[in-house]
């Protein structure tokens, strides 16, 4: 029972980081029908930027904000410069383009920041809290991670649901033609959407780095697990992405705890296949099915 609690807490904490990546993927998918495979590499890159800032003796929280801002800029730039020309082309173009960005970023990062694996600081202790005689199996940094992702999600939800800007962004994603007629700058909305998604990814990068360390492809697995979560939930559903990512986090944690950490990704694969066998469009997609 004690082990089960530990694995569950671990699963939820990791799952929240995957959820941030999953949500970023879903935001971009809903806006442009593109899966951004470079999401993880972008997060790696912005985390490196934060590390450089911290190594210059700057306060952690300042570096934290810089990482998020860098994510926003990187995401917006990627959309405006690279993705815009392929948005109207067959989907495979965008897939390959984002894989190209992924490979390029993972090659440039070691050139700029050095090839060796580096440790990344956490703003809070990573040792489990003990109150009196009871151990809580959760560290202050874990709580911060979960809290930060939750706050980011709530803020994004409010932006999308309660502001005019959010309404414009949703309209631009939902029907670009009509939105354009109504005077919405659709291109600008898509750029902003990519920027916000990459910001969320950058948050995941900073939160994951203390545990997985920082190297050029440290986010590959996080991206794959986040993507797995997003697919399990259904790429069109933000809620589904979060639930799917939490599920992936839990499954990975249980497999890794009870069977062996090397088999955790296999557990994720089995979960993915099992869900997709039953619901090929993910758990939370209730749209029209393809039909002849």
């Amino acid at each position: 029972m004690r082990l089960f609690t530990i694995y569950t807490v671990d699963g939820v904490v990791n799952g929240m980081v995957y959820a941030a990546v999953a949500l970023a993927l879903v935001m971009i998918w809903r806006a442009t029908r593109i899966v951004n495979y470079a999401q993880g590499a972008m997060a790696m890159f912005t985390t490196y930027i934060a590390l450089v800032v911290i190594q210059h003796g700057v306060w952690y929280w300042f570096a934290f904000v810089i990482a998020l801002a860098a994510g926003l800029v990187l995401g917006a730039l990627t959309e405006r410069v690279l993705v815009r020309p392929v948005e109207s082309r067959p989907p495979l173009n965008a897939v390959i383009l984002s894989l190209g960005v992924l490979i390029l970023l993972e090659a440039v990062a070691p050139m700029l920041f050095g090839g060796q694996t580096q440790s990344f600081p956490a703003p809070f202790s990573r040792i489990d809290i003990t109150t009196g005689s009871t151990q809580l199996y959760v560290s202050p940094f874990d709580l911060f991670s979960v809290g930060a992702v939750l706050v980011a999600m709530v803020l994004l939800f409010l932006v999308f649901q309660r502001t005019t800007l959010g309404l414009r962004m949703r309209a631009a994603a939902f029907n670009p033609e009509i939105s354009r007629i109504l005077g919405i700058r659709v291109g600008r909305m898509l750029t902003l959407g990519w920027g916000l998604a990459a910001l969320l990814g950058a948050l995941a990068g900073v939160l994951a780095a203390p545990a997985i360390f920082l190297y050029s492809n440290n986010m590959d697995e996080v991206l794959v697990f986040g993507f797995t979560g997003a697919i399990i939930g259904g790429l069109d559903s933000p809620i589904g992405a979060v639930i799917g990512a939490l599920g992936v986090g839990l499954v990975l944690s249980y497999v890794s705890g009870y069977i062996g950490s090397d088999l955790a990704p296999l557990g994720g694969l089995v979960m993915l296949i099992a869900v997709l066998m039953v619901r090929p469009q993910g758990l939370f997609t209730f749209g029209r099915q393809r039909q002849v």
Binding site: L82, G100, P110
Partner: protein
């Protein structure tokens, strides 16, 4: 003779690939130095795997981000069998790897037949990440992280003058020529047309009586078989089969090969493989002459792949083969119109991928 050649694809391809095999065999024997032989074997191996991916992604439209994992299944089949019985002949290993990978491809294909677009890509991506960690867990069977060393194949006694390196290069080239001969015929066959029909319009294919799911599984099995064959040869080529040889980077490199060369083009698969093998050689030479630090030099090829992928999509969406084809078509058109003998209507440009 000419009309016979035009009518019979099998005969035309047969003669072409026999000539190709003779030329490549002679080059290996008379011209290539050991370093070139090693690289040519690598090109052949990548080309076999890329050709399979060309059929799957280019012809059938299913994106696989996990082809490195399929190569891994082939490589481990060979390595584990050789670990038990080091004397087993190479040809048997190739067929054993083809068999296991074919079965794996069928399983993945059946699981993936209902999946479209990002859902299939996600499943194969997940495979590419999950599979390389399996040997670490079952270390007693798969040699763990250290991997399994693979003996170099020796030429038969009758060919005592042939070095093992030349012998292996011949084997790789022969495997590649046979694979490309079979695939070139497949592309022109009824099955090949069905693969493309499913890619272009699933609904129309279904209305025309094509079993879409079955066609997709078939495409997966064909491409898995190629990956298995390539994986088996890959094990002999790098002489050590370990999980680090089959990371996500390998899967992405294979997709790069297919895209650089030109999606859906078998010639493109060869051109792309040539680049992927020789680019690190060239940049390595450049980096050492320019005295670049190792963290820069090691990543130059990777950076170039990334740039080339992006440029390929933004500038040359049809890859090298497509670019060459359109240039030669333009040249041919000018030539023909100058001679004023053009009787055929200009062939419509194929749709951009």
């Amino acid at each position: 003779m000419r009309s016979l050649l035009r009518r019979s694809t099998l005969l035309r391809h047969g003669l072409f690939f026999l000539a190709l095999a003779a030329i490549l065999g002679a080059l290996t024997w008379f011209v290539f130095d050991p370093f070139t032989e090693y690289n040519v074997a690598g090109v052949a191996i990548y080309a076999i795997s890329a050709a399979g991916l060309t059929v799957l992604t280019g012809l059938n439209g299913q994106v696989s981000l996990g082809h490195g994992a399929l190569m891994m299944i082939g490589a481990y089949t060979t390595s584990v069998l050789l670990q038990w019985h080091p004397d087993l002949p190479l040809i048997l290993m190739l067929f054993a790897s083809i068999a296991t990978t074919g079965v794996a491809g069928a399983i993945i294909g059946i699981a993936g037949a209902r999946l479209r677009g990002p859902y299939l890509a996600g499943a194969t991506l997940s495979l590419a990440v999950a599979l390389p960690q399996v040997p670490t867990h079952f270390a007693s069977l798969f040699g763990g992280n250290q991997g399994i060393s693979v003996p170099t194949p020796v030429p038969p006694d009758a060919l005592a003058a042939v070095t093992p390196q030349q012998w292996f290069t011949w084997i790789c080239l022969a495997a590649a020529v046979i694979t490309f001969f079979l695939l070139a015929n497949l592309v022109r066959s009824a099955t090949g047309r069905r693969l493309q029909m499913v890619r272009d319009n699933e609904v129309a294919a279904r209305l025309a009586g094509v079993d879409v799911a079955r066609t997709q599984v078939l495409a997966f099995v064909i491409s898995a078989i190629c990956a298995g064959l390539a994986g088996s040869l890959f094990a002999y080529w790098i002489t050590l089969t370990s999980p680090t040889g089959f990371t996500l980077t390998l899967s992405l490199s294979l997709l790069t090969v297919v895209v650089i060369g030109g999606l859906g083009s078998l010639t493109g698969a060869v051109l792309g493989s040539f680049i992927i093998v020789y680019l690190p050689v060239w940049t390595g030479g450049f980096a050492s002459s320019a005295n670049l630090p190792s963290n820069v030099a090691n990543n130059v090829p990777l950076a170039i792949y990334g740039i080339v992928l992006i440029a390929a999509i933004l500038v040359f969406p049809r890859g090298i083969a497509g670019g060459v084809a359109s240039i030669s078509r333009a040249v041919a058109t000018t030539f023909r119109s100058r001679r004023q003998t053009s009787t055929l209507p200009a062939s419509p440009a194929p749709p951009a991928q």
